[in-house]
């Protein structure tokens, strides 16, 4: 239980394996099924169905409806499909994790010292590779991974671009506002803030003042007189939601009428409001590619499972 445990080999082995499965799935896993006659008929015995049902009932405390029963059978059948496909794809032949599992399982039951190869051979001879729940789970997991990443390439520029165009709204960024405000402090002026703001507005209407001069008409704003590239929620948390709303609706280049926030009264000048926009793809390519890859894997797996369901015949007898 001391620190060195972290660097003990099985953990590293598995960490590495996990990493490889994800990042290197494309080249680690086979690209074509090896030739084996696939048995596409899955026979589920009533005994197995009963086991599924009793497990469900023990877990949930409720009796399975017909619908649930069908779902349990379907799930079981799909796992069996994935296991058989895994055999067909040769995942059992060159899977180091399975070899390790077989060696360790065999080493448990065998008193004698054997080479790794011998342990694996014995385990296979005993059929440990086909009925071991851990191996089955690994196969199901790896087969899902294989199906979801099968043929996966790093997305091409064109694919990322198409996805970006189709899913623009997903990557759209909200409007950003840049501007100035003349501020009248409630702390300093109490109830006369709006009167002061109205007087200043009259002056602004009469004289064309630069923003730098205009802010001198008011008090020092502790959050600054100028704001740059702010999102609406940033403005709301700095000056209050009234301020953000004004900034979102005001035309550019003209001073607003006075309005109040918890801090006092404001006159607002919007210099620039960038409309909600989708950043150029070049700015967010990595993110778009990550989202695209993730969505492609889901689609690929869904399509592959549908094909499997069509290919296999499931019989309960």
């Amino acid at each position: 239980m001391k620190l060195p445990k972290i660097i003990k080999s099985p953990i590293l082995h598995f960490a590495l394996l996990g990493l490889l499965l994800f990042v290197g799935a494309r080249w680690l896993l086979p690209s074509e099924p090896i030739e084996r006659a696939p048995d596409t008929r899955i026979v589920i015995s009533e005994l197995q169905v009963a086991a599924l049902l009793s497990q469900y009932e023990a877990t949930t405390g409720t009796v399975a409806t017909d619908e649930v029963r069908a779902e349990l059978i379907q799930r079981f059948a799909e796992e069996e499909m994935l296991c058989r496909e895994a055999q067909r794809w040769g995942l059992t032949d060159n899977n180091q994790a399975i070899d390790l599992r077989l060696r360790q399982k065999m080493a448990f039951v065998s008193d004698e010292e054997h080479s790794d190869e011998e342990l694996e051979r014995q385990a296979r001879a005993l059929g440990l590779d086909s009925d071991d729940a851990v191996i089955r789970s690994m196969l199901v997991h790896n087969m899902r991974l294989l199906l979801s990443t099968k043929g996966e390439q790093e997305p091409t520029d064109a694919e990322v671009e198409t996805y970006y165009e189709r899913q623009r709204s997903r990557f759209t960024r909200p409007a950003r506002m840049t501007g100035w405000h003349v501020f009248f402090s409630k702390d300093l002026r109490q109830s006369s803030v709006m009167a002061a703001a109205r007087a200043a507005k009259a002056k602004l209407d009469a004289e064309a003042l630069e923003p730098e001069q205009a802010v001198e008409l008011g008090d020092v704003s502790p959050s600054g007189a100028q704001f740059k590239g702010q999102l609406a929620h940033q403005l709301a948390s700095r000056f209050g939601s009234e301020f953000a709303k004004a900034a979102e609706s005001l035309p550019e280049g003209q001073w607003s009428e006075p309005f109040e926030t918890p801090f006092g009264a404001h006159l607002l000048l919007l210099k620039e409001r960038t409309e909600p926009e989708t950043p150029p793809l070049s700015d967010i390519r990595a993110r778009v590619a990550a989202v695209y890859k993730s969505s492609q894997r889901q689609e690929r797996l869904g399509a592959a499972m549908e094909a499997l369901r069509a290919r296999y015949e499931v019989v309960v007898e």
Binding site: I11, E79, A133, S237, S294
Partner: protein, 652 residues
């Protein structure tokens, strides 16, 4: 380090107070965000929230994952368990989005819970896994939940047993050499990273790959959140089971990330030291030996922050635990460990609280020449509903933070472990960073330019220096002036310039939280500076200075929760330490208070019609409304704590 960084940002003194960078010497990075501000913007975030990948979330019926957490932080709604019957269904959304967030699921049992819930592994059929699945099912159905106060099912105890074991081992169902659980752990960890990648939107919303290290040796909570700077992270998380001592966690992070993986950067944030039995800030190595200078420097570098406020209470300070500061009675639990029964007045070891750790840090610095506890402050919710940032006082009684376990009033009031009447809605972390990007926010966290709040969003700035003009607050570029003449919160004061007389000045500026839309935020009451120092005898001392505000009166009606009176929309002052002694090392941090409001429990107990003066007629379900442990907390003052600024005589 912090000083060098702020120096690098100087050089354009002709720009307006917004901090736009237009001077000839000013260098804006070519890929700067639209709101890039060399004087830094405040970004509001949450670095401590749990999803279905946490054992205690899934056991509370929670079904949502890190992607849902990030969606919630951006403003989308989330469904809360229980999901049956229909009448129990709830959903909630944030009143204001967050700027950054990290899902920090418990790294312990990542793989175990997959083994237990995904058929196929041998372990799936173990008794533990069967019981666990049953518990998960039960926790989603309001009609089948345990009654509050009933003992928890044994699966909880079996998990707790591992987390309190000083030499923890994995469940026997994990397979030979734990391989099944570890293999699945890497799957979960990869998904945490993938979710963070998918939602990181530079300039708009920042996410971090993160997890929680959940050690409770001997029931002492010494939990830490581990936050990674970017997508370069170790293949596996380091859990309490892998590394049962904090020093072993840091060594693992050092070996696997800082030294072992180019581009990897990480920090560790301890939390809930109030339940650590004083072990959170032990100034020793794993073997109990005293810290060397190098040990202290390593520790300060990898652990620059402490989460001082969250739903399991406040860890700044506590009345009677090396302080008589009357404001140290805020959201404290009357017990020393989370599993203890409440017992007001029970002994709590001093190093359970951050202020005492800061003082111990000075003592250590005096002795060994480095401060192991150079700790800045963050707040967090620690929600187990994936509701990152859900800290609104008025919402907590409706949503809770622990799935089905605290879903209705009697459960929220009486669940005695994580929630219960002494719990609260938790806090937030507000970071001063140039822009909303991983690098900028992570860097700000490392240099401690961040402050903690008790859940609201007031603004708080602190600078310390030797030449800050007394009238800085009335200047239109106050922050510019303060930044040029001082170090921001989290930093260490530079050497006093020649001819400086008297103590350092501190510029403290605070603005009230304007409140979410449709609600007016609470005005500020006052600003304090908390100073800690080591006296001539080598003893740590502390003192609280009221430095601004505090002279307006406000009140709250305990029956209607209506507020009255006045406060401040903003407060600002330049304060000089009147008791400064050049030879005494010290720290200074600012604490600001809002005007009083009703605590969530007061709102809830009012709604329930509880009358504690007629105690015999209070229903048992709501008896906690009249619990003596919240007697003094009918009303609270929400608050914020700046990270400290340190003074070291060596710099003179």
């Amino acid at each position: 380090m912090a000083f060098a960084f702020s120096l690098a940002l100087l050089g354009c003194d002709d720009s307006p107070s917004s901090g736009s960078c237009e001077g000839p010497d000013c260098v804006v990075p070519p890929d700067a965000c639209p709101d890039y501000n060399r004087l830094r913007n405040p970004y509001v975030g949450e670095l401590h929230a749990h999803t279905v990948y946490s054992f205690d979330s899934i056991m509370a019926g929670v079904t949502v994952d890190p992607r849902d957490l990030y969606r919630f932080a951006l403003g989308q709604s989330i469904d809360l368990p229980p999901f049956a019957p229909e009448a129990a269904q709830r959903s909630t959304r944030l009143r204001r989005p967050l700027d950054f967030a990290a899902a920090t699921d418990h790294a312990e049992f990542f793989g175990e819970f997959r083994v237990c819930t995904v058929p196929g592994f041998d372990g799936f059929n173990s008794d533990f896994c069967a019981d666990l699945r049953a518990q998960i099912e039960v926790s989603q159905d309001a009609d089948r939940l345990l009654e509050p106060g009933e003992p928890l099912p044994p699966v909880f105890a079996e998990i707790a047993f591992i987390l309190v074991d000083p030499a923890p081992e994995r469940f026997p169902f994990c397979g030979i050499d734990d391989e099944d659980c570890l293999a699945e752990t890497s799957m979960v960890w990869r998904d945490e990273q993938a979710a963070a990648e998918e939602f990181y939107d530079r300039c708009t919303f920042t996410t971090f790959a993160a997890y929680e290290w959940t050690g409770n040796p001997g029931n002492a909570n010494i939990h830490r959140n581990v936050i990674f700077r970017n997508d370069t992270v170790p293949a596996l998380p380091t859990s309490y089971i892998d590394a049962p001592k904090p020093q072993e966690l840091w060594s693992a992070l050092d070996a696997q990330c800082l030294k072992g993986l180019p581009g990897c950067d990480v920090l560790s944030i301890p939390h809930s030291s109030n339940f650590s039995k004083g072990l959170m800030f032990e100034p020793t190595n794993a073997d109990g030996s005293p810290l060397s200078k190098e040990d202290a420097e390593f520790r300060a570098a990898i652990e620059p922050l402490v989460e001082i406020h969250q739903h399991k209470g406040n860890s700044e300070c506590k009345v009677g635990v090396l302080t008589n500061d009357e404001d140290c009675g805020f959201e404290t639990y009357e017990k020393a460990a989370i599993v203890d029964p409440s017992s007001p007045g029970a002994f709590v070891p001093p190093l359970s609280f951050a202020r005492n750790a800061l003082k111990e840090g000075l003592v250590q610095d005096e002795a060994i020449g480095a401060n192991p506890f150079e700790l800045g402050f963050v707040g967090a919710s620690d929600t187990h509903n994936a509701t990152a940032g859900a800290t609104h006082e008025g919402d907590y009684r409706k949503t809770g933070h622990l799935g089905a376990l605290d879903w209705e009033p009697r459960r929220l009031l009486r669940f005695l472990y994580v929630s219960g009447v002494e719990s609260n809605g938790g806090g937030l972390a507000i970071v001063w960073a140039e822009e909303n990007s991983r690098d900028a926010i992570f860097h700000a966290l490392k240099r401690r330019e961040v402050y903690a709040t008790s859940g609201t969003r007031p603004r708080l700035r602190l600078f310390g220096g030797w030449n800050i003009p007394a009238d800085a607050c009335t200047s239109r570029n106050a922050v510019e002036i303060a930044d040029q003449n001082g170090v921001p919160m989290g930093g260490t004061l530079p050497a006093a310039p020649d001819g400086a007389s008297g103590g350092p000045q501190f510029f403290i500026s605070a603005q009230q939280d304007p409140g979410p839309e449709g609600e007016t935020g609470t005005p500020l009451e006052r600003i304090q500076i908390i100073k800690g120092w080591v006296d001539a005898e080598g003893n740590a001392q502390e003192k609280v200075f009221d430095v601004a505000g505090g002279d307006r009166t406000a009140d709250v009606d305990l029956n209607t929760c209506e507020v009255s009176g006045e406060g401040y929309a903003s407060l600002c002052t330049v304060w000089t330490d009147p008791e400064f002694v050049p030879g005494q090392r010290a720290f200074y941090y600012a604490r600001i208070f809002e005007n009083p409001v009703c605590r969530w429990s007061t709102m809830l107990c009012n709604e329930l019609g509880v009358d504690c003066t007629d105690i015999d007629n209070v229903p048992a379900d709501f008896i906690e409304c009249c619990s003596p442990v919240i007697e003094d907390q009918k009303v609270i003052k929400e608050r914020a704590w700046s990270s400290p600024i340190w003074y070291r005589p060596e710099t003179l």
